[in-house]
């Protein structure tokens, strides 16, 4: 089920929330948590019920392994290795088998048919979440959770599909807290406030940019300088507003149930370095990679050379996590290199001018998103070639063919395709100078102005809901 559908926010969410608080009011706390698990599994199955057994197996398996690791068995290390291997194996099987087969076919000229496996929804997220649980169980950092709480921690619907990648330490206590079991209108207002902002970001901003991106990356034969930069910037903003919009909706949904999800975005495009970017972008993924790859590899404790090697390995895995393709690996490699250079630069003690630092960082991120977005090397090279000016400054036909959502809305100021530039400029201004939605929520006051603001955003988003589209991060 998608957050940006009526079936979710007009039916599923209210029924789930009302049912949860009703059961709690009747002091049926186990039933209330069971209700949330059932609702979450229903939410998951709505998309494709055939993967329900997989997530159930994954929950049961990891709970069993986690419980065993929390005990006093002698071979705990082997059990941990086994647990991680099964998790990574499942993820690898579904996500990377065809990629591997294609590469084997190329390298040794075989003709092994791909399995054409469909990636089970959310597998990348619930796998990482449960690996954290296993490692912490091994370290003795988990308490004795019961199965119901564990199942709720993994399947909790607001974070199930595309994160944030939550930690049992930040979720389990919230499920048990007594005061979280009664309706809290402060959280409800914050929830609806965040949800509507997220819906607007997804439906009006991200989805409006999508046709320009698809036109340049997937349809146009050659891309001019102007179209190349327009498309790359459009994607830079599309992925941000899509993913952060999703996060706002996830956090908003959880707040209805008095659950606070960890922040996943902190104005990443304000970053003055690539290292800072990774402290602001997909924060919970960065935390996972740092805790479970970078630090176990030795982090920055084993000498300077190994720091760089560890950084590269971490980012290559981060790239590969996003998708089974060489472009994702290349994207991870480029970011790994940039963070390594950043690391070395910081050691020199020389500080760049803030504007220059922002300019270099933003452009690096913008250019590397091209590699990330492209479905193939040809597509990436086509857009990068355009951006370099090798195909001329502007073309007779190109992005001007795109019929934007603004045309559908009849917002004449933006519907003229050449005025996409004005739209991008506004978005640039918003991501650099405006407060992000979390900061806006923190400063929220229950005023009439805020009612007008949210109702306006909500009604505009409803207009855009006619074309329901998936979130980009569902693919990863």
């Amino acid at each position: 089920m998608l957050f940006n559908t009526y079936i979710y926010f007009a039916l599923f969410l209210p029924v789930t929330v009302i049912g949860y608080f009703l059961l709690n009011k009747l002091k049926l706390t186990i039933a209330s948590r069971s209700w949330l698990v059932l609702c979450s599994l229903f939410f998951y199955s709505w998309w494709e019920i055939s993967f329900l057994p997989l997530i159930l197996f994954s929950i049961l398996f990891n709970y069993t392994i986690g419980t065993a690791l929390g005990g006093k068995m002698l071979n705990r290390k082997t059990i941990l290795a086994f647990g991680i291997a099964v998790n990574v194996g499942l993820l690898g099987f579904y996500k990377y088998t065809d990629f591997l087969l294609n590469n084997i076919n190329i390298i040794i000229a075989t003709d092994i048919k791909p399995l054409n496996l469909i990636l089970p929804l959310a597998i990348s997220f619930f796998t990482f979440q449960q690996i954290t649980f296993l490692v912490d169980s091994y370290k003795g950092e988990t308490k004795e959770y019961n199965f119901l709480d564990y199942a709720l921690f993994v399947s909790f619907f607001p974070q199930l599909i595309a994160g944030p990648i939550v930690h049992h330490r930040e979720m389990m206590p919230q499920f048990k807290r007594i005061r979280n079991k009664i309706v809290n209108y402060r959280n409800m207002t914050a929830g609806i406030y965040l949800f509507i902002i997220g819906l607007f970001k997804k439906v009006i901003i991200a989805d409006s940019l999508s046709p320009y991106v698809a036109q340049a990356f997937d349809r146009m034969q050659t891309v001019s300088f102007v179209d190349g930069w327009t498309a790359s910037l459009a994607y830079t903003f599309q992925i941000y507003f899509d993913f952060s919009g999703y996060m706002d909706m996830a956090m908003g949904s959880a707040l209805f149930l008095n659950i606070k999800l960890p922040i996943n975005f902190d104005s990443p495009y304000k970053s003055l370095s690539v290292r800072e970017f990774w402290r602001r972008w997909h924060i919970t993924l960065g935390r996972f990679l740092r805790e479970h790859i970078y630090i176990p590899l030795g982090g920055n404790r084993k000498g300077e050379v190994l720091v760089y090697a560890n950084l590269m390995v971490t980012f290559l895995i981060g790239g590969l996590w996003h998708g089974a393709g060489w472009t994702f690996i290349a994207w991870g490699f480029l970011h790994g290199m940039a963070v390594a250079i950043n690391f070395a630069w910081e050691k020199t003690g020389i500080r760049l001018n803030r504007i220059l630092a922002w300019f270099l960082t933003f452009n690096f991120i913008n250019i590397t998103w091209v590699v990330f977005r492209a479905n193939s090397w040809e597509s990436a090279i086509k857009v990068l070639k355009g951006m370099s000016g090798l195909n001329g400054i502007s073309a007779k036909t190109g992005l001007s063919d795109v019929i934007s959502f603004f045309e559908i809305l009849q917002i004449k100021a933006i519907s003229n395709s050449s005025e996409i530039y004005g739209f991008l400029l506004i978005l640039m201004f918003a991501v650099i100078f405006h407060k992000n939605s979390i900061a806006m929520k923190d400063d929220f006051t229950s005023s009439g102005m805020n009612i007008a603001f949210i109702v306006t955003l909500g009604l505009l988003a409803f207009i855009g809901l006619d074309k329901v589209s998936e979130f980009l991060y569902f693919n990863f």
Partner: protein
């Protein structure tokens, strides 16, 4: 303000706003599916639904039908009545029709128990690639649930849940404009589409009209448009339709639409020829496409796809051999599997002529 009050006011306003959109959508009825009929004229009418509803009540007024897309919308049953005696044609054109629509239409007419003596089938060769389904915003192309087998309640709920702002505002402005000079007229009695305002513009100052029309003045060759070959599915569906029509003893006349040269300039010869060849293996037909006296004169067109009623009248005259004096000799070729190769050879020459006349851009 207390949080509870803020929350309840916000939710109430959001729900009320959404319900207002729903009411507006219902009252304006931009696709004509609810039959509200407060505003009568719309360029976004869903003809599949409206004509189905109309015929379910009035099928006994007709015994013959025109099947085709909006391009066939200007074919006048009155002209057909003149050409053929004792026939009452209904123009059953719907937007972007192809083989699947022909079968659906035949089936629901049969379902009503309608008499079907004649069918004039107007095929858009260039649109015969696949049954493309419905893209975002194309609610004017969704079939009536009784013809598609979809749940009727779900169908109306789906339309009610939309907020088609563009279509709503265009229907309102269309109806205001209609008081002065109608842009678009959909006559449910005959099924004919007409464009009186554009006709006036063309007749008053056709040069200005053509200059303003992007599609009619490109005057270049760009055969890179991704026209793919006629899909197996469409061929199969057309075969099914032809077999069914034969089984019902329906007198079938088939013709292709005359595309404006600007549209022809987008077609790849071999793909286009492949489609004509495939059609010739199924049935005999009148081919009005290609580069000829009519298709190379912009005066005969509303845009690069849609021809004007004078062209439709010439097509009828040619097909039914009625008063053909005004029809240019090069307009309309009767094609069968015996002469298809010669016809394709002639078309090849026309393509070459066009390539030289409008220098290739690809």
């Amino acid at each position: 303000m207390r949080h509870k009050k803020w929350f309840l006011i916000t939710v109430t306003l959001l729900v009320a706003g959404r319900l207002l959109f729903l009411l507006l959508n219902y009252l304006v009825d931009p696709f004509g599916v609810f039959g509200t009929n407060i505003l009568k004229h719309s360029g976004t009418d869903n003809l599949r639904v409206m004509k189905y509803k109309y015929l379910s009540r009035n099928y006994n007024k007709y015994d013959s039908y025109v099947f085709g897309s909006s391009r066939a919308g200007v074919i006048d049953p009155g002209m057909l009545r003149k050409s053929l005696n004792n026939v009452n044609y209904y123009n059953l054109c719907v937007h972007s029709a192809n083989s699947l629509d022909y079968i659906l239409q035949l089936n629901y007419l049969n379902g009503f128990g309608a008499k079907i003596k004649n069918v004039l089938l107007v095929i858009d060769i260039d649109l015969m690639s696949d049954y493309s389904g419905i893209r975002f915003g194309e609610y004017m192309k969704i079939g009536h649930p009784k013809t598609t087998g979809k749940n009727e309640t779900a169908f109306y709920l789906d339309f009610a849940s939309k907020i088609p702002i563009l279509e709503i505002s265009s229907k309102i402005s269309e109806n205001i404009a209609f008081l002065r000079a109608p842009n678009y007229f959909n006559d449910m009695e005959s099924g004919v589409l007409s464009f009186p305002n554009i006709d006036n513009k063309i007749e008053n100052n056709h040069q200005e009209f053509i200059a303003d029309s992007k599609g009619l003045n490109s005057d270049s060759i760009n055969r890179a448009a991704p026209w793919v070959s006629w899909s197996e599915e469409n061929i199969h569906l057309l075969k099914v339709f032809l077999k069914q029509a034969k089984a019902q003893n329906i007198n079938l006349s088939i013709m292709t639409t005359p595309l404006n040269y600007n549209k022809m300039n987008e077609l790849d010869y071999f793909i286009y020829a492949g489609k004509l060849y495939a059609l010739s293996q199924l049935t005999e037909f009148w081919d009005f496409s290609g580069y000829n006296t009519i298709t190379t004169d912009n005066l005969n067109y509303y845009d690069e796809s849609h021809f004007r009623p004078n062209v439709a009248n010439m097509m009828i005259a040619r097909v039914f051999n009625y008063s053909t004096n005004d029809v240019p000799d090069d307009f309309g070729v009767y094609v069968s599997n015996k002469n298809i190769l010669k016809h394709l050879g002639d078309l090849r020459k026309q393509f070459k002529w066009a390539d030289e006349k409008w220098a290739r851009a690809d």
